[in-house]
Symmetry: C2
Subunit: 265 residues, 2 copies
């Protein structure tokens, strides 16, 4: 059982008490300017001076332990968060407690922008491993953006990309079969790891089968079976959460057609 509700919140909405549990992060090593994710994150393309200004906005950098919530659905919105290290899932809760995972985010991704709209977070964010985020109080961010147009632009861009990401996900959920969904998920992960300088053909999943299933609108047994099947076909190699993509070209081909009526050999 995941006692997520019993675990202490790393950061919770605006409650001052909660921030006390934030483990202080060494500021010497944490500057946008020198951050290796610079080009994937908010400061992308900004000049050094602006980057330094942005650096001052980052009120604190927080560690979030595995399974802790960065924010929860319904929490008052105050900040957006840039992931420095680690991985997060975003989720929504049904009335009966079941969770629907809506996204998987890694270093350089900005999360929490869903709260700008009406001051409350629509989804929650939970760390999939011990992680670190830069806390960007939105008030201050917005203020700085008015002084530095380029930053405002970048912020719009980040949020807009979130819209696109969600649209892509709706496309996946609305029009792909189970196997295609998993393949699309794997290829998406691969591309994002590659963009971050890691191997795009060999990586470790941060999610359980159940979490992957939830994200893809499937059941865990189905995901497990699909992994086995893709391995059987020689397209991938799976060992628990370690995945190796053996034939990316073949995988990409699987996304082409909706349901090929079994073409002849």
């Amino acid at each position: 059982m995941i006692h997520s509700s019993a675990l202490p919140l790393a950061i919770s909405g605006t409650a001052p008490a909660a921030t006390a549990s934030v483990i202080p992060y060494c500021h010497l090593t944490a500057h946008c300017e020198s951050c290796c994710l610079h080009d994937l994150c908010l400061p992308e393309g900004l000049d050094p001076e602006t980057t330094r200004l942005l650096d001052h906005i980052v009120s604190n950098r927080a560690r979030v332990k595995r399974r802790d919530s960065l924010f929860r659905p319904g929490d008052a919105f105050s900040s957006v968060y840039a992931i420095r290290v680690g991985t997060f899932k975003t989720l929504m809760l049904a009335e009966d407690g079941r969770e629907q995972i809506t996204g998987c985010f890694m270093g350089g991704d900005l999360i929490g922008s869903d709260g700008i709209g009406d001051g409350r977070h629509n989804c929650g964010a939970v760390a999939l491993e011990d992680s670190e985020v830069c806390v960007l109080p939105f008030e201050q961010l917005d203020e700085l953006a008015h002084k530095v147009p380029a930053l405002g632009r970048n912020l719009y861009r980040c949020i807009s990309r979130d819209v696109c990401r969600s649209q892509d996900m709706m496309f996946l959920l609305g029009s792909m079969r189970a196997e295609q969904r998993l393949v699309a998920f794997l290829l998406n992960l691969a591309a994002r790891y590659r963009a971050r300088g890691y191997s795009g053909s060999e990586f470790v999943l941060r999610m359980t089968r159940e979490e992957i299933a939830s994200l893809l609108g499937l059941k865990l047994e189905t995901v497990s079976r699909l992994f086995s099947h893709l391995q059987g076909e020689g397209f991938i190699q799976v060992q628990g959460r370690s995945v190796k993509l053996l034939d990316s070209a073949a995988l990409k081909r699987m996304l082409r057609k909706h349901a090929e009526p079994r073409a002849l050999a």
Copy 2:
């Protein structure tokens, strides 16, 4: 057959030639200040002076005829659009030409923000009936937002709400059964019509069964059957595209449980 690709574009990306086909709209009746959608749209909460400034930004108001595209997937991004009158669907195209509908938008909604991210529209927007939009060139909008912080805030809010809307849709596609999806869709429409001063219990669908099916990740026959079934249960009344919600409470109850194990009578 929908010859959408053969139909003239009302407005297409940045090509100046395309704007020639925009049917000029009577400017006398089209001011944000006096627009009845004022409170649902970008100028929400802005003071009269700012609203007037925003009004000047609206370079033109365009009529888009039924089945015409306002923008297409891959089009260069230049503007966002506020719907004045009518309804639009947004869609994405698979390689094989099939379309996946990702949203349904009506008066007051802002569409096109998916293009801010990387300068190209991720999805397309097609009018479901003869419609009118306010064209908001993003460059100018952004510029004005720097002078008027409140406008910038509203713009962030609008885009963020888009993120929430997409998340809600992912929740629907990922965790609801067919009937629940249709019910959620109907209740969502009802709420939006109500917010616009129309009846929330009796309205006309702007989409075909096939379009509704695509939006909900189903097939048209399934949607048709579900309509018949909901009518049979006495929850709604359907006649083609005219829908009457007879028992909203019962409909809302249907969204509660994932799959009730057939409770006894």
